[in-house]
């Protein structure tokens, strides 16, 4: 067999080996994405075929007040959740990185909530946040009731819907903590020792040595948090459905609108346009973060 023949056979065999992934990618990702891009320019009620309407769906997004409110709510959620979750995860990871008794137990305690399905954690929190019987308000009453301070109606008051969702989301940051913990353990001891010899205190060592050393990991986590925040859906969806008496729009996010339009309002074309907008926003914000990271993130040589 000639050299080119052998190479062709090798190439074919390689393609054959990766074919399950390639077929899966084409059938379950590339083709649906291409179809949804097409649908975004159509009126498509699912039960009937799509009809081309050009940029109609895209223009409609400019005037859809319910959708605007959902985007704004999602943006607020991301703006609040990303820094709070990052700071909390870092602090918890730093504490867990110290040599303390039963450190393994605390690591497990922080990580276990991430194993609870989101719908399940929403149901647990539904009771925790119950205005009258909930553990949180009962605790507030026990601690501050004497001063007339009582907990709010977390889920039935529109103003407290966002803090409730943030609280539930923060309960599940264990995975991020584990990643930070692994990164913290990778920070070379000699650098920290050198810092200490130069007279740096623990706080300064953390900000001047530890943080720059783990900055690539922070960037990774912030990007994944941003993507997750833009797609937040399960927790508000379950809470909203399971809390009669709340304003359903108080827990209405970007993905909620997309879901409703696709599967409840028979407007798959419009939902597809929304999905593409979400992808474009995600890509745009990721690009901005990468650009900003050039100055902020330190990569070890």
């Amino acid at each position: 067999m000639s050299t080119s023949g052998a190479q062709l056979k090798k190439d074919l065999l390689g393609w054959l080996w990766v074919s399950p992934w390639v077929i899966g990618f084409l059938a379950f990702l590339a083709a649906p994405m291409a179809m949804s891009l097409y649908y975004s320019f159509t009126d498509y009620p699912l039960l009937e075929g799509p009809v081309w309407i050009g940029a109609g769906n895209w223009k409609r997004m400019l005037t859809d007040e319910v959708f605007h409110a959902a985007i704004l709510r999602t943006a607020w959620y991301a703006i609040l959740f990303i820094p709070i979750a990052t700071a909390m995860a870092l602090v918890i990871a730093a504490l867990l990185n110290e040599k303390v008794k039963a450190g393994g137990f605390f690591q497990a305690a922080v990580f276990i909530p991430t194993l609870v399905p989101m719908a399940g954690s929403a149901m647990i929190w539904l009771w925790m946040l119950n205005g009258e019987y909930g553990l949180i308000n009962q605790s507030i009453h026990a601690a501050f009731g004497w001063a007339g301070i009582e907990g709010p109606n977390w889920l039935q008051n529109s103003k407290w819907a966002m803090p409730s969702i943030l609280m539930i989301s923060l309960w599940s940051i264990g995975q991020m903590v584990v990643v930070y913990l692994a990164a913290l353990k990778e920070v070379p001891d000699e650098l920290l020792e050198a810092g200490a010899l130069d007279g740096m205190g623990p706080v300064r060592r953390f900000f001047n040595i530890t943080l720059p050393m783990i900055s690539p990991v922070i960037l990774f986590n912030v990007i994944t948090l941003m993507i997750g925040s833009l797609q937040v859906f399960a927790i508000p969806y379950v809470l909203s459905a399971a809390t009669p008496g709340n304003d359903p729009r108080a827990m209405y996010f970007f993905t909620s609108s997309m879901y409703d339009n696709a599967f409840r309002y028979n407007q798959m074309g419009y939902a597809s346009a929304q999905a593409w907008l979400q992808l474009l926003i995600t890509l745009g914000l990721t690009a901005i973060m990468f650009a900003a990271s050039k100055k902020l993130v330190h990569y070890r040589a």
Binding site: L47, V66, N130, G131, Y133, Q156, P248, Y265
Partner: protein, 460 residues
């Protein structure tokens, strides 16, 4: 193992799975046609339907019904029809019929029902409209049969009535009488916190918009395809709702409601006595019997009555109470494998004995025009005659028969909470919501226009 043998094993495995792997059986080993029937019920409601399915399977030897209860049946039905592989029979909510009918996604039953076994005249007046709707050509067809019916009325606690000097055998009929009863029933503790409310429009909040009809109005005008939620009758109804919120206190009621448990639990506010009157369907009687207080012998202790929802004086008519008439329907999706057999099964379920058996098990009134005396006499819901009267009433109303209803209703539900919270005067909020709901109707009309079937005669 060599690469070649590993590859061969993978290919063989794939071919084997494709050839012999699991798939939905269309015939069972005995050669009977397999009908797939999807239903949304769970628990005792699903079990009651299963008995009818079993009876059908035993009644003949040509067809076997495979019964599947599933959540999210509306979305699953939508997707399977779009994908061209729907089940043969589906149990949907009646308000979804227009969505599927206008796109010809169901098989009209008047095409299959050659013996007239499920013709609409067999059913109570209020249910007839739920089974029909226009097709894509604008022709009215019958798309469904009722499986069970659900009308709404007000349950009231007779012990509470007696306690405050109200006659439990003469419940209020007008809005004014109802308000007076409510005020008497309200109880507060020493520090002024609510411990009992007479009535709250937003509990359970499943039908936030129905009060408009009690004032002689509506939410949607089918003739003009217009939202009429801003009309004076609606303003009066929502101002009435706000008067309760003002009187009880917005924050006080929010805190009070936070202590209400789930509907299907012993913490249901009507069962715990926190609410003396509640708007509900016949199914609440089952919850009362299952979870309500009982004596040592297990006999339910909650002494309840049922009355039609109150109305303005001009609408008081004991023979024609005003109330929502809704229900569950059986439909045959377009593209199913066995439409004739599906029709045969549906006709079996609609025999009077099966309709009444299912309704009894669900604590509901019958969907048929005439109920047997035995059914009414032995019914476990003591208020069944009131629910039946609403179903037979000329003043019964239904969910608006428009494709845009789901979106329309979401808007009304959100508004109800804001209305109760007194965020704006009723008139202002309704004007905003009328404009928004009209935009949903306009959107549905645009969809129809794109497919050449405008219902506004070119006025869109």
């Amino acid at each position: 193992m060599t690469r070649r043998s590993a590859l061969a094993a993978m290919v063989l495995g794939g071919v084997g799975f494709a050839t012999f792997g699991p798939r939905g059986a269309k015939e069972d080993p005995s050669g009977r046609v397999v009908l797939d029937y999807w239903e949304k019920w769970t628990g005792h409601e699903a079990a009651a339907m299963k008995k009818i399915v079993d009876a059908f399977n035993q009644s003949q030897d040509r067809i076997v019904v495979r019964y599947l209860t599933t959540a999210g049946i509306d979305q699953k039905t939508l997707i399977t029809i779009a994908a061209g592989d729907p089940p043969d029979v589906v149990g949907l909510w009646a308000y979804l019929v227009p969505v599927f009918a206008e796109s010809d996604s169901l098989i009209p039953l008047d095409e299959l029902d050659t013996k007239g076994e499920v013709r609409v005249e067999r059913y109570a007046t209020g249910f007839r409209e739920l089974m029909t709707h226009r097709d894509s050509k604008g022709q009215t067809r019958q798309w469904a049969t009722m499986n069970t019916g659900g009308t709404l009325a007000v349950y009231y606690n007779k012990a509470h009535f007696r306690e405050v000097g109200l006659d439990p055998e003469k419940p209020p009929r007008t809005i004014e009488e109802f308000d007076a009863a409510h005020r008497k029933l309200v109880k507060r503790d020493a520090d002024g916190s609510l411990t009992r409310a007479g009535f709250m429009h937003i509990e359970p909040g499943w039908w936030s918009w129905i009060w408009v009809f009690q004032f002689g109005g509506g939410v949607y005008d089918a003739a003009s395809d217009r939202s009429i939620i801003g009309a004076p009758e609606a303003v009066a109804a929502y101002e009435w709702m706000q008067s309760y919120s003002k009187e009880l206190g917005v924050d006080a009621t929010k805190k009070f409601r936070a202590g209400f448990g789930n509907y299907d639990s012993p913490l249901n506010a009507f069962l715990t006595g926190r609410l003396s009157m509640v708007i509900q369907g016949p199914w609440l009687a089952n919850v009362i019997n299952a979870h309500g207080p009982k004596d040592v012998n297990g006999k339910p202790l909650l002494d309840y009555g049922v009355m039609p929802a109150p109305v303005i004086p001009s609408l008081v008519d004991p023979r024609n109470p005003v109330g929502l008439v809704e229900g569950d329907v059986l439909v045959i999706p377009k593209g199913c494998k066995h439409p004739k057999e599906a029709m045969e099964f549906i006709a079996f379920t609609q025999r009077q004995e099966h309709v009444e058996a299912l309704s009894l098990a669900h604590y509901k009134s019958s969907t048929l025009a005439v109920s047997s005396e035995k059914f009414l006499r032995e019914h476990p819901n003591t208020g069944v005659r009131v629910f039946d009267a609403v179903a037979q009433s000329a003043l019964g109303f239904r969910y608006p028969r428009t494709q845009a209803w789901t979106q329309f209703k979401d808007e009304l539900d959100g508004m109800a909470q804001r209305m109760w919270s007194l965020e704006q005067p009723a008139k202002d909020m309704l004007a905003t919501v009328q404009a928004r709901t009209q935009s949903y109707l306009d959107r549905a009309e645009q969809q129809r226009n794109l497919r050449g079937r405008s219902i506004r005669g070119g006025r869109a």
